[in-house]
C-alpha cells in the first residue's frame, strides 16, 4: 500500500474494489476507458477489468443515465459518470422523474441500484457552466441518496456503500479536492451512508459543512481557536440520508449553528438543515443561525470574482464572529 492516496486515486480505487467483489458492477461514461476520465478518476479500470466492464459512451447524458437505469432494473450495478455535475441538467429527467420514482410508482416492484458519479463544485476557474455545486438540485428530489465525501478515505468507504446500496445514489466528487491526500485505506472500508462525522470538537459553535467546505470550516475553526472560540465541525458526508441527530447533538453542546455550503443561498442544502433546527432545535439555540453560502449569482470565471462568490475561510470566521454578541 502506498503511504498516501489522493482523493482522485481514491475514486478509482473505490470503484475497483467493488468491481473486484461483484461482477455485476460496470462503469459507463464519456472518456472513462482508455483516457481514464478527464479527471483521471477512472484511471486503470479499463486495464484491470476490460471493455466488458468499462464502457466509453457518446456524448449522450440521457442515454448514459437512462441505460444505467435500465441495467440497474435488470440485475446490474452500473456506475455512470457524468463528467461535470452541471451536465446533470442534460439528463435531469432521469434524476428527477425516473430513477427516484420508479420503485415507488410501481408499488415496490423494482429497485434501481445504481450510482451516478460526477465532478462537482467550483474554485478552479471553469466558469458558469462547469463550476456549480449541484448537490442541492438532487436534494429537491425525494428518492435519491446523496453522497459528497470530503476525504480520500471517505471516498473509498462511501463509494463501497453507494455501489452496494440497493437504492440510487448520486455521488458528488469535488473537483477542488481531487489533489487532496490522505492516509491509505484498509481493505473493506465501508462508510455507511447517512452518518455525519464530528471532525473537530468544540463547545462554542457548530459548523456544519460538506465536501470542499469541510477543509474551509476546519481552517476557520483553527483561526477562531486563536481568538478563543472553539468550533465543533461536523462533516455531513451525505444530504440523504441527512444525519440530523449528529447536528442536534452538537448543538446541545454549542447552542450556535453556522452552516457552510457551496450552494447558492437561495435553495441551498443549508436551508433545509436550518429549517429542521429552527423547529426541532429551537430550544437549543442561543443565537441566530447563520448560513455561509454561495452568492446568488452564476459562477464567474476570474479567480478574484469566484472568491467573492464561493464561501471562504474569512467569510466563515466573520460569520462566527458576528454571533459573538449573542
Amino acid at each position: 500500500m502506498a503511504d498516501v492516496i489522493s482523493y482522485r486515486e481514491a475514486v478509482a480505487e473505490g470503484i475497483a474494489r467493488e468491481m473486484r467483489r461483484d461482477p455485476n458492477v460496470v462503469c459507463l461514461g464519456e472518456d472513462i476507458g482508455e483516457a481514464g476520465g478527464v479527471f483521471k478518476t477512472t484511471a486503470g479500470l479499463l486495464k484491470e477489468f476490460g471493455p466488458e466492464r468499462v464502457w466509453d459512451t457518446p456524448i449522450s447524458e440521457q442515454a448514459i443515465v437512462g441505460a444505467a437505469m435500465g441495467a440497474a432494473m435488470t440485475g446490474m450495478r452500473p456506475v455512470a459518470e457524468i463528467m461535470f455535475s452541471d451536465f446533470l441538467a442534460c439528463c435531469w429527467d432521469y434524476l428527477a422523474n425516473e430513477i427516484p420514482k420508479v420503485r415507488y410508482m410501481t408499488g415496490g416492484q423494482v429497485t434501481v441500484p445504481l450510482v451516478v458519479r460526477t465532478a462537482n463544485g467550483g474554485g478552479l476557474g471553469f466558469g458558469a457552466q462547469h463550476s456549480q455545486a449541484t448537490e442541492n438540485w438532487a436534494f429537491t428530489v425525494p428518492g435519491l441518496k446523496i453522497a459528497a465525501p470530503a476525504t480520500p478515505a471517505d471516498v473509498i468507504g462511501m463509494m463501497a456503500a453507494a455501489i452496494r446500496s440497493d437504492d440510487p445514489v448520486v455521488f458528488f466528487e469535488h473537483k477542488g479536492l481531487l489533489a487532496a491526500k490522505g492516509a491509505p485505506v484498509p481493505p473493506d472500508h465501508v462508510v455507511e451512508l447517512g452518518r455525519a462525522a464530528v471532525v473537530r470538537e468544540g463547545v462554542d459553535v457548530t459548523l456544519v459543512a460538506l465536501a470542499s467546505m469541510v477543509p474551509v470550516a476546519l481552517k476557520a475553526a483553527e483561526l477562531l481557536s486563536g481568538e478563543g472560540v472553539e468550533a465543533e465541525v461536523v462533516d455531513l458526508r451525505c444530504l440523504v440520508p441527512l444525519d440530523v441527530s449528529t447536528v442536534l447533538a452538537s448543538l446541545g453542546r454549542t447552542s450556535r449553528l453556522v452552516t457552510v455550503e457551496e450552494n447558492p443561498y437561495q435553495g441551498g442544502w443549508g436551508a433545509t438543515l436550518v429549517s429542521v433546527v429552527a423547529d426541532e432545535g429551537f430550544g437549543l439555540l442561543d443565537a441566530p443561525v447563520r448560513r455561509v453560502a454561495g452568492e446568488c449569482v452564476p459562477l464567474p470565471f476570474a479567480d478574484a470574482l469566484e472568491e467573492r462568490v464561493i464561501p471562504t475561510v474569512e467569510k466563515v470566521v466573520a460569520a462566527v464572529r458576528g454571533l459573538a454578541a449573542y
Binding site: A63, M105, Q109, D166, G194
Partner: protein, 325 residues
C-alpha cells in the same frame, strides 16, 4: 401464426378492447381518477409483439400502456383495480393508469415522460448481454416520441453497442391533438430516422396482429443473434381520444371512419374465419372476453382502498421512506 395461436391472440385483443371500454366508462362514472390514455385500436401491436417475444424478454411502454401490461401477463382486474385506486391494483394504487408495471413478467413499466424509456430499454438490453443471456428488450412508444432528444441518444447508443433492443413506434398519426405530420421533418417519423443510426427501419400494419407478430419475430431473432437493434413503425389509430374524455374532434370524420373499418379485431376475425375457424368458436372467445372483463370490473369495484400510510412506503429498497437519520 397457427389458427390456435391466432385465436388466442384474438381473445387477448378482445379482452384488452373490453377492458379499455370499461376503463372509459368507469372514468366517465367518476370511478377512475386522474387520467387514462386508452389503447383501444392499438391491441394488435401489443398482442402481436408479445406473441413474438419470449417470456423472459423485457418490455417498456408509455402512459398509453394498458395493452402492453395485459399482453405481458397483467390481468384486467389488476389493471382496473389500479385505475380505480384500489389496494389490489398492479402498483398498489401508487402508479395509476400511466404507470402500469408487472415486473414479474418482464413488463418493466409504463413511463409518462415522452421518450424517457427508450434509453432504459437500451440499458436492459445491455444488461441482458452483459449477463450472458440472449434476452432482448423492446421499447414501445408513440410517433410523438420520435422528435425528442432521448430517442436520438437511445438509438445511437443501441446501434453503436449493437444491443439486442427493438424500438417499436406506435404511429397513430397524432400526438395529443396535433397531427404528427405537422411537426415532423420526414414522412415516416420513425422509419425514416433509422438510416441516421445505420439500423433497419421498417413499417408494418400495426392493426394486423399477424403482420406484427411476423415482423417482430424476424427483428427479434436478428437482435437475439447479435445483429443489433431495429426500428419498427407500426401504423395504427386510436379509437378513443388522446386521454380522459377527449372527443378527438380534431380528427377528420373520413379519416376516423376509414380507420375504424380497419379494426385489428375485425382483421383478426376475418383471418380466423378464412383459415377455417368456425364463427361460433370466435363468438365463444368474444363471450369469454366479455365475461372476464365484467368479472374484473366487479372484483376491482369490490376491492379495498389503500391505507393512507402506504403513501410513506416503497421509496427505498428497505421498504421505507426515511430521508433523515
Amino acid at each position: 401464426m397457427e389458427p390456435a395461436e391466432l385465436l388466442a391472440a384474438y381473445e387477448q385483443m378482445a379482452v384488452i378492447r373490453r377492458t379499455e371500454k370499461a376503463a372509459h366508462d368507469l372514468f366517465l362514472q367518476g370511478l377512475v381518477k386522474g387520467t387514462t390514455h386508452l389503447a383501444a385500436g392499438h391491441e394488435a401491436i401489443a398482442v402481436g409483439a408479445s406473441a413474438a417475444l419470449r417470456p423472459d424478454d423485457y418490455v417498456f411502454a408509455t402512459y398509453r400502456g394498458h395493452h402492453h401490461a395485459m399482453a405481458r401477463g397483467a390481468t384486467p382486474e389488476e389493471c382496473l383495480a389500479e385505475l380505480m385506486s384500489r389496494a389490489t391494483g398492479l402498483c398498489k394504487a401508487k402508479g395509476g393508469s400511466m404507470h402500469l408495471t408487472k415486473a414479474s413478467t418482464g413488463m418493466l413499466g409504463s413511463y409518462a415522460i415522452v421518450g424517457a424509456h427508450l434509453p432504459m430499454a437500451v440499458g436492459a438490453a445491455w444488461s441482458a448481454r452483459l449477463r450472458g443471456t440472449d434476452r432482448i428488450a423492446v421499447a414501445f412508444f408513440g410517433d410523438g416520441a420520435t422528435n425528442i432528444g432521448a430517442f436520438h441518444e437511445a438509438l445511437n447508443l443501441a446501434a453503436v453497442w449493437k444491443l439486442p433492443v427493438l424500438f417499436v413506434c406506435e404511429n397513430n398519426l397524432y400526438m395529443e391533438y396535433t397531427p404528427i405530420a405537422d411537426v415532423t421533418a420526414v414522412a415516416r417519423p420513425a422509419a425514416d430516422r433509422a438510416p441516421a443510426y445505420g439500423i433497419p427501419g421498417e413499417v408494418v400494419d400495426g392493426n394486423d396482429v399477424v403482420a406484427v407478430q411476423e415482423t417482430v419475430a424476424r427483428l427479434a431473432a436478428r437482435a437475439r443473434a447479435g445483429d443489433g437493434p431495429a426500428l419498427l413503425e407500426a401504423r395504427t389509430y386510436r379509437h378513443f381520444g388522446h386521454s380522459r374524455a377527449d372527443p378527438a374532434t380534431y380528427r377528420p370524420a373520413e379519416e376516423v371512419e376509414r380507420w375504424l373499418k380497419h379494426d385489428p379485431l375485425d382483421l383478426a376475425r376475418g383471418r380466423l374465419i378464412e383459415s377455417g375457424v368456425p364463427e361460433a368458436v370466435v363468438h365463444e372467445a368474444d363471450e369469454r372476453a366479455t365475461t372476464a372483463v365484467q368479472k374484473a370490473v366487479e372484483a376491482a369495484k369490490a376491492a379495498p382502498a389503500p391505507d393512507p400510510d402506504e403513501a410513506l412506503t416503497d421509496v427505498w429498497a428497505d421498504g421505507g421512506a426515511a430521508w433523515r437519520t
